[in-house]
Structures are given as structure tokens and as C-alpha cells.
Amino acid sequence: MVDEAKREDILKRLSDGVVYYDEEKVIVASNEAVEDGLDPFDAIMNGLAAGMEIVGQLYEKQEYFVPEILMCADALYAGLNILRPHLKAKEMKERVKGQVVIGVVQGDVHDIGKNLVKMMFDVAGFTVHDLGADVPLEKFAEEQVRTDSNIIALSAMMTTTMMGMKKVVQMIKERNPEVAIMVGGAPLTKEIADVFGADGYAENAGNAVQEAIKMISRLREMHAKRQLEAAP
């Protein structure tokens, strides 16, 4: 067991390492967390993810830009790779919040935004099925059926490719109206996401996971309600 002071110290170093894109610092602190028996989930959420949250704020304030975020992401993954194998199978199961299919729509090869959102799903314990970039529209629906995922996350970085999203949303909603769909990318706004029929909209990597968690609880409510209605 680790005492509170030691815990705080490790979490701070994990967070700082991410914020100042210091991979070495994150690796040292992660190894220490494992050796000292700090709960790996605690280290991931309150160390690495907490650091990434600060990075998101720095981006909002225009103190950080995309190159910085990408370097912070490398630092985060350096820690995640050490900590994640130590999550116990049972804990993993309890903490798995869902499965997500993610990809960049056909015609678009810009995957930076998608990769950052994917990272936030990874951190939060989702199982991520990454289809990559330039993904044919039918593929999203097929992959959802194959994996029984409860979230589909679509990204487009160009106005010229954004229209594909509308089709995917329609396609999936026709087959399975309970799947939650979130869209994101540079040319999108909340209003456009609404018009396309998406359930969630992520302006950037920072609010993607919050939006996803909200969606999952909405789905649970829907299920619960349906079960109640079905009861004699």
C-alpha cells in the first residue's frame, strides 16, 4: 500500500510528465506506481488523464497547439503502456464502460483528431475498434454489428468530406436506433451535428469522453425504461 503523500507525489509527476511532454518522467513515475502498489486505475485516471485534462485547457487558452498535444499524447501512452497491464481482469470488466467503433469518413485522410479522441476512450477504459482513415461509409455499420459496440465515433476534417457523416448516421440509425453516434472534426458545429442526427458532438479530444459517458448512461436509461414497460 502507498500512503497518501506518496500517492499524491506519483500522481503529480504523472500529470506533470504529460503536461510538459516529458516521456521519461512519466515512465519513471509509472514504474514507481507499479512497484509501490498504487492502484493502476487511480494512476491512469488521476495522474495521466488529469494531466491530459490540463493539456486540453492549455489548448483552449491557446497556450498549447496541436504539436504540443501530440507530444503530450506520446507521454500519456508511455505511461498507459506500463500501467494498463496491471489492471486486474475483474477490474477491467467492471470498469469497461463500453465499446466504440471509431474512424475518419471516406474521402478524408486526416486522422490526428480521431487519434486524440481514441486516446481518451483508451484512457477511460473503453474497448476501441479503430477503422483508421478514409473509411467506406458501410464499414462503420458493419463493424458496429460485428462488435456489438454501443458507440460509433466519426471524424471529418474537411468540409468536403463532412457530408458523408450524415449518411453513416442514417445508415446506422436504420439498423440499430440504440447505437449512440458522436461526430467531431474541424468543420463541424453542434448545430450541424444535430442536423445530421448525431447523439453527441465532440469539439475536441477533451470533451469527447465526457460526451461518450453521457451517451452510455442515456442508453442504460432507455434499456431500463423498455424493461419496465415490458414487465407484466
Partner: protein, 349 residues
Amino acid sequence: MGGNGLSSREKVMRLLNHEKVDFVPCFSGMGNITMDGLEKYGLHFNEVHQDARKMALAAKATPELFGYDCAIVPFDFNISAEVMGSKVQYYTTEDILYPSIPEKHIKSFEDIKVPSDLENAGRFPIVMEAIRILKKEIGKEVAVGSWVLGPFTLAGQVTDLTKLLKDTFKKPNEVIQFLNPLRDILIAEAKLYQKAGADFINVREMGTPVDLLSPRLWKSMIQPFMVKMREEIGSPVILHICGKTNEIVHFMHECGYDAISVEHQNDVAMSRQKIGPPPGNLLFGNLNTFKTMVQGTPEDVVKEVRAAIDGGVDAIWPGCDIWPGTPAENMKAMVETTKEYGSKKKKEA
């Protein structure tokens, strides 16, 4: 109305020549094809990228149908990357899908190959021929423009953008070394289009807004490339960046282009203040090509055109490519409002 008796082309050229004018033209340095235009010539979207005649027809339909002041070729972002050896994916579906480059084939500076005979490389000759056709068929009435990417944006097309962005921090000199030959290809491309008769060139360095790069990095790394391109390409030449540009608009202006072009996220009134008054300093923008032009009503378009003119733009110029599905009534509202309201405001001033 302002510009009495002048053709569309004369209006555009006088403006770009920094003459004092009593009108606001409606044109752009980006693609403007519409479904109505494609229909007019019996074309499908996916066949206009590799055929000079069809490319020219798709481009000229917009001024013909809507009184737009220019025709622009080409339409997709992959022309220069293709010349450098990228394999371009052309879609054959009925959907409106612009060609794309699925695989980034260049790993490092050493992999960059420049064809010796650029004039006959890739689709350069197709775009040149399309410009010649446009000049011949409508070149007296409307301005015929073309565009090239900026080197950073092109780099993002041919190499791993994630690595490139991180290297702006970790290995800035290597990034600059990588961008140098790309800049030279783009300058050559612009000169070929000028040789074919293009009235103006728009340089689209759209991969470098404040959403991506810090203003400091823009100034230290991107600006020197923009200055060099401006010097080599020569007038009339415009610099366009989409995304957030409020914090770099003065750096863009310092590059000495005849005009700078911005999209809807730019506060044009503030930019006007920063860059100084016309006709020496020109600011083009900034219609929202999706929310307003595609999703909006003609009233929304009228409102946004007026706001941009009130903000002080010298030409109404959509902030990105016109989406082909833009309704005809919105195109008409854009052109007509620009003419009427632009002339009215000029007269008042």
C-alpha cells in the same frame, strides 16, 4: 450600381491591381462547382478531375448560372502531391467524394522526387489546358483563377502529418529542409498556371491556422515560405488560410500578398483594422460555406454577406470551396447581395 459597364473580369482585375473601386466583386480562389452547374453540362462530379474539357465546363457553369465574377480550376487538393508520386484515389461512386491520397508515401526528405519535366507531370497539363479553355471561352467576361497549396499543407498530404507536427518542435530544421523542395514545386505549379493564362493565383496554406500551429511558429517557420512564394509567383496573388486566423492575420499581411483571404472564424472588422485600409491592403472573405451556404436560407446568406461587407471585406469570397450541393437560391442571394449592398456601401463611403 458600382462598376457600371465593367465586366466581371475587369472588376476583379482592378481590385487586385489596387485601384480605387466603387463595387465589391463576388469571387474566390477556391473551387466553386455546383450540382446545378454539373447538370447544365451533363457531368458527374467524379469525372471532372482528370479531363480538361470537363473540368473547364464544370468551372465555367458557376459564372454562367449565377453571375459569379470568376471561374476556378482545379477542384481537388492532390494535384501537386500526385506530381510528387502520391497515388491518388479517384472515387467512382455517385456520391460527391473528392479524390484523396490514402497512403503517405514520403517518409523523409531523401524520398522527395521532383520530375524534371514539370509541365508534363501528373495533371499539371490537364489543369493548364482547362485554364486555356476557360480563357478562350469566357476569359473576356470573367476572371479565370487558379490556386496552389502552401508547402506545409502539401507536406501534410504526402508525409505523416503527426510526425511532421511534432518535428516542428523536435527537429524544426528538418521540417524546413523538407518544405524547401515542396515550396519550389508549388512555385513552379503556379507559374505553369500563369503561363496557361490564369488571371490570379491563390496560395492556400490551409494546414497552418491557429487551430494547429502557434502564431509564433507561424511567424518563424511558415512566414518565410509564404514570403518567398509571393516573391516568386508575382502579382496578382492572394494568401488564404482557413480555420482560426485572428492571431496571425497581421503576419499573413506582412508577407506582401495582394490580398489575404480568411474564413468565417475570422473577425473581419478586427482584421481590417490590423492590415490597414484598401485599396493598398485587401481583405477577402468570409462566408461560411456549409452552415450558411448549404444549410442556410437565402435570408441567412443575405445577412452574412452584409455582415462581411460591413466588417470591411473588399470582395465577398467564400471561406472554402463551395460545396457542390449548395442550393441555387443561396448562390444567387450571395452574388446579388454582394453587388447591390456592396455598391451601396461603397457609395456611402
